[in-house]
């Protein structure tokens, strides 16, 4: 361990600097300047807003206007349904009711048979939604913008005890909660993972839900999303205070901006869409079948009358929403579709959609949580019950104060 005099040190420092530093070599390009603008908060936030806007606009134009309203509705209501109704024998039979639905129905939504509503919901509404969602998300991911969005979101999310990179599972959750839960493995501590998993399962609506909401209650979708995100922030804040454990920083790898390649994007898109289809379609069909059976056996009616007081008084929604809530365990999009057939006021519709979204994860998510550990699942269910009662009651209160409930 040598010890130098001050002068020796300075000359050594200068010599090293002389070797290591070159000025005027690197000329900054327009691309670099643009890249920096997207990160610095003052200019970066408008960029983030714009990107999120484009995300949403493309989603609703493609899935809502083009695919579902433009083609799918016509295909299913004007062609598939009449054909099925004419071909399936014995309109009064139970099998007809289960698989084709109400013989008097003239559109696939209200028919509620496995092959009518089931297929319509999964292929007519959800498939285009999931497809365009994954397309835009993969482009965003491959371009390298997602980590920068995380960096921007970091300061904001710190207030509720999360970190910027938590925005990635959140965005993934908007497609489907299942991969989002897996994505929480990038987090370091149990507390962070549990928080993210639970908050996602409760508050982040999946693409299927979003698709159906666009179709059924287009004017309230914005408010629903806002209420869910607000709940996310609110309860996230409390969870981070109440739960023991550490909340260390997440290290984000910020790659340079790249141009997404068609091969990569289409490969990821194909994998994700096929995966989603494999899980979605069977569950939706199963869901319709089960719900129909429950209706036939009168279980729904019994549950309805038993739980009616809670629903009407505490949550402010009509007791018929029990049926959809049962369906919501299987698939949330189905539940929203069912809700739309129940006559109720705009506020009640809004409140029941929120309830359906937060009250229980769909079975796929349920299985995912189970895979992560039964302790996580148990804790999640506990948290869920608390949130549903508190938030549901809060919304009802707000509704009453505003005079709409």
């Amino acid at each position: 361990m040598t010890s130098l005099s001050m002068d020796e040190r300075w000359s050594l420092a200068d010599a090293i600097a002389g070797r290591a530093v070159r000025t005027g070599v690197y000329t900054r390009s327009l691309a670099d300047a643009l890249g920096d603008l997207t990160i610095s908060p003052l200019t970066g936030i408008p960029v983030a807003f714009a990107v999120l806007y484009a995300f949403w606009s493309i989603f609703s134009s493609f899935a809502g206007d083009l695919a579902t309203d433009g083609f799918m509705v016509k295909l299913f209501d004007a062609h598939w349904l009449p054909w099925l109704q004419s071909v399936w024998p014995d309109p009064q039979s139970i099998l007809y009711f289960l698989f084709v639905g109400d013989p008097a129905a003239d559109n696939c939504f209200e028919a509620f048979g496995v092959l009518t509503s089931g297929l319509f919901v999964s292929i007519g509404v959800v498939l285009p939604a999931v497809f365009i969602f994954y397309l835009t998300m993969t482009v965003l991911e491959d371009s390298g913008y997602l980590p920068r969005l995380a960096v921007l979101a970091d300061t904001l999310l710190h207030r509720i005890g999360l970190h910027g990179y938590a925005v990635v599972p959140m965005i993934l959750g908007l497609g489907c909660n299942v991969p989002a839960i897996t994505a929480t493995r990038i987090l370091e501590t149990d507390k962070q993972r549990f928080m993210m998993m639970t908050l996602i399962a409760i508050f982040i609506p999946c693409g299927a839900q979003l698709g159906i909401m666009l179709a059924v209650i287009p004017e309230s979708v914005g408010l629903v999303i806002f209420t869910l995100l607000f709940g996310f922030a609110l309860f996230g804040f409390f969870f981070s205070r109440l739960l023991p454990g550490e909340n260390p920083e997440i290290l984000i790898d910020v790659p340079p901006y790249r141009r997404p390649t068609i091969e990569n994007v289409s490969r990821k898109l194909r994998i994700r869409t096929m995966g989603f289809l494999r899980e979605a379609v069977p569950f939706v069909l199963l869901g319709v079948l089960l719900v129909n059976i429950l209706y036939l056996t009168g279980t729904i009616d019994r549950l309805s009358s038993a739980l009616a007081p809670i629903f009407v008084v505490w949550f402010g929604v009509p007791p018929e929403t029990v049926g959809p809530l049962v369906a919501a365990f299987l698939r949330k999009d189905l539940a929203v579709a069912q809700l739309s057939t129940i006559p109720m006021t705009a506020y009640q519709m809004f409140a029941s959609v929120i309830l359906v979204s937060i009250y229980f994860p769909c079975v796929a998510t349920f299985v995912m949580l189970l895979q992560e550990g039964w302790k996580f699942l148990g804790g999640a269910i506990l948290a869920l019950m608390t949130v549903v009662f508190l938030y549901g009651g809060l919304i009802h209160l707000a509704g009453m104060l505003l005079g709409v409930a």
């Binding site: 327009l30 300047a33 920096d36 408008p46 807003f49 606009s57 134009s61 206007d65 914005g222």
Partner: protein
Amino acid sequence: MNGKIALRTLSVVAGTAALLLGLADILVWIGGSGPFEIGFMQIAGDDFFRWAWGGAVVACGGLLLIAGGLRGAGLEGRARALLGAVLVSLIAGCDIFGMICTSIPAGEESEAFFNSVAGFIGGFAPPYTPAVLLLPFMLAIAFFLLREEAT
């Protein structure tokens, strides 16, 4: 030199227009009193995302254009102006994509699935949103800025 000053002036002027129109989008949405039409331009003001959120983006794009134009011919100014043009073009692009998506299908009344060619083209008739009207100027500004970079 003359060309550069012209470009910066255009940037400031277009930026001011974008800022004002973006704010107008938001105001019409807040007011809630239905579509606001002048000549070719229409601000529907009904949907939160398009008019409040999207209007805010257009306004920010306008601010960036103004800031870029005022900052001078250096790299920072050009980058800001370019970013502003990109933001407004993004909104306009989404509007156009929306027009395409609504014009491809034939509509509820008709039996057919696809719209006729005439019907498709008809979907692009005026009136347009402010962002779409600003689009040609945005593209021009971006084009000249990129060309300046290449030289």
